[in-house]
Symmetry: C2
Subunit: 346 residues, 2 copies
Amino acid sequence: MKGIRQLADYLDISIGTVSRALNGKPDVNDDTRRRVLEAAEKLGYVANQSGRSLRQGATNVIGLMTGSDTQAVENADNFFLGVTDGLQSVFSTHNLDLIVLPCPAEEDPDEYLKRMVARRMVDAMVISSTSRIDKRVDFLKQTRLPFVTLGRTGSSTDHAWIDLDFEGVARTAVARLAAAGHRSIAVAAPDTDINLGYIFLEGYRKGLEDASLPYDEKLIIRARSSEQGGYHAASEWLQMRPRPTALILIYELMAIGLYRRLAEVKLRAGQDLAVIGFREGPSGQFLEPRLTSFRMSLRDLGVSVGKTLLSTMPAYSSFYPQQPKHIVWPMQLIPGDSDITNLQSR
Amino acid sequence: MKGIRQLADYLDISIGTVSRALNGKPDVNDDTRRRVLEAAEKLGYVANQSGRSLRQGATNVIGLMTGSDTQAVENADNFFLGVTDGLQSVFSTHNLDLIVLPCPAEEDPDEYLKRMVARRMVDAMVISSTSRIDKRVDFLKQTRLPFVTLGRTGSSTDHAWIDLDFEGVARTAVARLAAAGHRSIAVAAPDTDINLGYIFLEGYRKGLEDASLPYDEKLIIRARSSEQGGYHAASEWLQMRPRPTALILIYELMAIGLYRRLAEVKLRAGQDLAVIGFREGPSGQFLEPRLTSFRMSLRDLGVSVGKTLLSTMPAYSSFYPQQPKHIVWPMQLIPGDSDITNLQSR
C-alpha cells in the first residue's frame, strides 16, 4: 500500500498526476490541482500522513477502549453503539475520527492499553468499564496522553471522568419502593470489582437510611450482569426466608432471566415481587410486565464524554471553555408495571 | 507525544536510556538493552513505528468496519463483540491488533471507508453489513488492500467472504413448520437493502416449494430488525385474514416485541402462533415460552473470518493453505417452546 495510491483511488485519477499536483509541478491543470489539494485536506493528508504524524504528533484519531472481561461484554450490547454515535458527532466537527480498541478477553487490560498507546495511533483515549483500582488511569497520567474515563475509579479522582448516576438510581429506587410500603428490599449487584457496583451499593445503603430501613448484607444478591444473572438472582430470591418483597437490578437485561425463573414457579414481577431495573432499553419496554427503569440518552452521554475529552486537549480546549471535567450523569425514573405489587393482599 | 516516551513509560526507565539502547550505544547494560529491544519488538516498535510503517507498508493492525445505519446498529448488540473475540484470537498469534471502525450514522459508508483506508492505519479490512449492491467491495478491490466481507453482496462474488446460512435457516424453518401441519407461514423480513434479506427470502421461497406450498407475497411482513420491529410484525399479523398460523423472524430480539404485542391481546406464541426466531441468544433462551432458534458460535465465526482474511495476505497465507475463500456458515436448529401449536384444536 502506497499512501498516494489511496488519494489517487479516492479521486480516480493517476498516481503521477496526484504526485505532481501535491508537489506543485506546473503540468497539472488548476481544477485538478484544487481537487487533489481539497481531497488531501479532507483526508488529513498533507502530502504524507505518516510523515506528518511524526512531525506534528497528531493522528487526528481518538481511541475508545472497551472492556475485556465477560461481564463488560455481556453488559455492552448496544450501550457502546449509542455512546459511539454521540462521540463521533462531536469529533467529526474537528475532523477527528473515532476508533474502537476492544481489549481481548484473555489479555491484561493494562498491558493492552500500553501497547495501543505505544502504537501511536491515537491523539487521546476514552477508557470505559473502570474498576475500583484502575492502573490504566495511572498509566495514562504518566504518558500525558489526554484521556477521559467513562466511569469513576476509587483510586483517582482528579482526572477527567463522566459516570452514570448509579448512586442516585439506587437511592431513588429504594425511596420509591419504601414509599409503596416495602420494608424488605433486595438488590442484585455485580460479582466483580467494577467500580459502579460499589457506587450502586452505596446508593442502596443511603436509600435505606433515608427510609429508616435497616441495611442487611443478606439482601445483596451477587450475580452476573446478564439474562443468566437475572435467572440466578430470582433463584436466590426464591430461597430467601422471609422473601424480600422487592428487588432492584443493576442491569436491565437481568429482568429477562428473572421473569423466566418466576414464570417457572407461576410467579410474576409486578404481582409477587416488585422489580426495578436499571437503564430503560428496548427489551425492558417490551417485556410483559413492562420494566420500571431509568431513562437516559446514550447519544447525549457520548456527546458530553467527547466534549470533556476535547476540553482537556490544548488544540481543542478553547472550543469547550465551560465543559465540566467531572460529570455525574442524571437518569430519570420511568414507571413501568414491574414494581406495582399489592402488599396488603399477601 | 514522542514515540520513545511510550517505550520508556512502558519499561519505566528513562527516555535517554531507551534511546541509547535502541541506537546501540555502549553505555547501556546488557539486561536493559535486552528489555528495551524485547519491548520494542513486542510493541512492533523497531526504533520508529511510523517511519517503519512508511518503509514496510505494514501497520500490523486490521480494521473491522461496522455498519452505520440504524438497523445495523440495532442488530449489532453483542454480535460483533462475539465475532471480535474470535478475530482477535487469530490475529494475536501473528502480533496483529484489531481496531473497530464504526461508520457514523450520518456518514456515507463508501466515503467513510475511503477515508479510513487513506489514513493508512490498517493492513487489511473486514467489512460487515453488506448491502445488495455494495460499492465498498469494488473500492477495496481497486486499492488492493486485502479484505474479507462478513456477508455476501449481489454485485461481487469473487472476493473473500463468509456469510451465515440465511437460506438454510429459512428453508429449515419452513420445512419444520410444514411438517407440523402449517399451511400458511408468514415471515418477518428486513425493510432495507441489506443483502441477507434477499437470501433469507430466497430460502423461504425454496422451503415453500419443497413443501409444495404456494408462495404469497402478502405473507411477507417488512419490519425493522429490533424489538419494535417484532411488535410491529405482530400487529400486522393480527390484522391478516385469514391469519397465518406460523411466523419466521429474521432477528431473534424481534420475539420480545412480538411476545408483548400478543400478550396485549391475550395471545401467546407456541399456542396461538408458531414462532421460529433466528440466532439463539441469551434473550431467546430465557423468554417464556423459550424461542425456537438456530445455534452458532460467534467466536468460531470470528476465527474463520480472521483465517480467511489472513489467507489472502501474502505475509500470512502460508499459515492457512486450506482455508476456504468463501464460506456459508451453518447453523443448527435448537427446538424451543415457541413453535409448538395444536393446529387441530382451532
